[in-house]
């Protein structure tokens, strides 16, 4: 019997908005699915596509990227830059066969604890439906075995 599938969600968030929003969800004692692991960064501008790629390789079933709403970036414009990168990177991953549902983007402000909680629940649920992200995981398994030649 294999274990029931528990989605693994890795979230890269900026410390000023979404991280604070997640904190607010906590201080408000909102309950949400425990499947998310948060990596705190100063700004969405610091979130490199490499992080997303590595997280997917490391077994994330869905990656969430979240930061301040447009206009609200603590660093003025980090999120605008991030948004462009995401647009491009998302298209790239989609073109190379990674379902768009595997990478989610959102704006969550420091005041949106409830939005954060709801979103995590929604993403967890959706990932549960999608099932594990096997494509990279299987390639990772291949690496770990001996040479095929």
């Amino acid at each position: 019997m294999s274990e029931p599938f528990e989605p693994k969600i890795v979230a890269f968030v900026c410390t000023y908005c979404t991280y604070a929003g997640a904190d607010l969800a906590g201080t408000s004692r909102l309950k949400y699915a425990p499947n998310v692991r948060i990596v705190r960064l100063p700004c969405t501008g610091r979130i490199s596509p490499m992080f997303i790629l590595k997280a997917l390789q490391k077994g994330a079933d869905t990656v969430l990227v979240s930061g301040c709403h447009p206009g609200d970036c603590h660093f003025t414009a980090g999120n605008y830059h991030a948004r462009r990168r995401w647009t491009v990177f998302r298209a790239l991953l989609a073109f190379t066969g990674i379902p768009e549902e595997r990478i989610r983007f959102s704006w969550v402000s420091a005041a949106e604890g409830a939005k954060f909680a709801e979103m995590i629940n929604e993403i967890t649920e959706q990932t549960r439906k999608l099932g594990p992200f096997t494509q990279y995981q299987e390639l990772q398994k291949v690496i770990e075995t001996q040479s095929t030649y």
Partner: protein, 337 residues
Amino acid sequence: MTRILLRNKLDDCIAAWQKAGFSVFAPVRQHEMSSFGEVQKASDMAFDLVLPERTIKDHFFPQTEPLIKYKIGKQQIDSETMTPPDRKRVFFGVRPCDASGLAIDDPLFGWDYKDDYWFRRRDNSVIVTIVCTEADDFCMCTSVKLSPESDKGADVMLRPLANGAGWQVEAVSERGTALLETIPSLLQENSEPTAPVPQVAEKFDLEKVMEWLASKENFESQFWKDISLRCVGCGSCTFLCPTCHCFDIQDEGDTYAGIRRKNWDSCSFSLFTMHTSGHNPRNTQSTRWRQRIMHKFNYYRGKFGVNSCSGCGRCTRQCPVDMGITETLQAISNLPR
């Protein structure tokens, strides 16, 4: 009288070898590329190739090879040596130049410290070559004193029959003899004529080249700078070369575990010889190209008595800027003495 293997017996032949415990590899076309791949039946094979784009080297010295698996624990790091699979393989339809490539690299992997990863595969593999009936503009085996019918590195050599129905079969090593013993009923006595071997013109005077390379004053010659101007420093010539054997060792993994791997590396890459101090003995493309030529036609011979080139011509065939060994050696042999 010689023995022949008919083309229509090839499926049986593969089956017999598989029954004898061999996996059978042959040139295949997959995903817009030709290479050696495992086959189940004759129709999987691509016979119409002058030469597959990828060499047989891939199967003896893979592009990335796991060496050691490690687990990082609190108190200790557990490591486990990984070895290549112990499987018996027949490589069918290898061109003489590719087979020669294996033979050329044997002494390197064997001298002093024996590279188990290479020899475990070599010892378990039988190389069945097919003598060439075609050559293209880039073929240059004769220039390096090999030929389209060289049996170097081969265990069994096949000569295509003129009528195209099959091959004349000849064992050229004990391993080859043993392989043929698994298919006695599929071979027939015959004296059909074989197809003519193509005439591959010698493109340069190897003796002259070697002499020029051996001469110390030529090491700093302007020639190297001029000839390598357009080299962009990629590794495609080295990675597609049947004899190039340089590699890197890298650890790859996460916090808890990983694998130490042996990966192809190339003397064309600018970081290949970069010291940690920042000093780089070969810091220009011309010195790197010189190294490649010198290594193949001077150093290697000095060490192992043989040039490290089997004349397959892939370096030129695949070069994005139309360089390659042929052009350089031609230019050297044309230099005024």
